[in-house]
């Protein structure tokens, strides 16, 4: 009987240990290169973003819209601002929460996708994996900033993109989830504050 109990203790402990091991292993994310060893790989990371704060984002950006993704352009190489892979996204605007109320369509620039690099002696792949990405037909609320060339960009990368589902729940990167009604109220309150101050 005594021996049986200790076997039980040992067995249970071993199971718990293995379970913890699996949990530990799962938290380490590692991925290798997807490209062959002879090519140059050029990549970019939009490294540090302004932390998500609806008040701060609302005050900072020139444009906040609700709309749907009408077109996702093919990635293309841009080398006049350093080598980057970029995509143009077309948004059909349904409502303007901040900015020019007459906007009905918007073109957004993102650093994303992969393009083939053939330039001078260089050959390889230019990759932009660190952006807000879009799919045609998505309903979105977007905080839009402008880059120094005047292009609209999603503010703070993926943090400025909010996906709206059929139940009018809004989700975004980092486990963000909120009813659209509540997010609108926060944006309106921030707009009101910035108008008053």
């Amino acid at each position: 009987m005594k021996s049986k109990n200790w076997k039980y203790v040992l067995g249970l402990s071993l199971t718990a240990f293995v379970a913890m091991g699996i949990l530990v292993a799962k938290t380490v994310t590692q991925s290798g290169s997807h490209f062959d060893n002879e090519s140059i790989i050029v990549g970019s990371v939009q490294s540090s973003y302004i932390a998500r704060d609806i008040n701060l984002y609302t005050e900072s950006v020139p444009v906040i819209v609700i709309g749907s993704v009408a077109k996702v352009g093919e990635p293309y190489l841009r080398d006049d601002r350093g080598l980057t892979s970029q995509q143009n996204i077309q948004i059909r605007v349904e409502e303007v929460l901040k900015g020019d109320l007459s906007i009905s369509n918007l073109s957004i620039l993102i650093e994303g996708g992969q393009t083939v690099l053939v330039k001078d002696e260089q050959k390889g792949v230019v990759s932009g994996d660190d952006s807000a990405f879009f799919t045609i037909g998505e309903n979105v609320l977007l905080f839009l900033g402008t880059n120094s060339y005047g292009d609209y960009v999603v503010f703070a990368g993926p943090n400025g993109k909010y996906l709206i589902d059929e139940q009018n729940t809004v989700t975004s990167i980092g486990d963000f989830e909120m009813p659209l009604k509540e997010l609108r109220a926060k944006i309106n309150a921030a707009l009101q504050n910035s108008t008053n101050s």
Partner: protein, 208 residues
Amino acid sequence: MKVSFLRITALVLLHLLVFSFGTVTTFAYSTSGYSWSSSPIPYYINSAFASSFRTAMKAADATWDAAGADFSFSCGSTACTTSANPNVWSYSCDLEKSIGYYNRGDTGVLAAVNFCAVGSSLAEADTTLNTYYSFTTTGAAGKYDVQDLVTHEFGHWLWLLDLSSSGSPSYCSSSVMSTMCRYMYPGQTYRRSLRTDDKDGIKAIYGT
């Protein structure tokens, strides 16, 4: 009855021990598969940065050098500076590793890292600070701390990835604040110091 009580206590203690071991050894870092094939890696800071900014950047380098891994950065020149174009990524893949600046506009991006690699070996890494925003070396309110930011950037040069990207959103909370957390508030300085997770990350890539 007494024996049974002892057994239950032993059982509880044993499971607490197993659980705490699992918690302590949880790795909160993420790597890309890229790494430098040699060390130290010489780098340059644009000479147009204020002296206090350059000092803060070198302090960020020293923080990683002291992490206990078989890797270090070194200044590429005596003063660690270069007078080249501060928009360091405008001449991509020149193999010079530099910290510069560039007005990226009101994009919500405080700094960007660009890199060149051949296979899985890194050949170049550059960081540009976005001068649309205001920076400080004192953690002053309303501005972004250079040392906090560049310590994070050097983590990318090593090739640790951001935490709180889609794969690991829960790691950057108020209770878990690694240098590789990507978000930054004005006045924030906690990323100046490495957490165990950050050190585990660099050790996992480069060994000890």
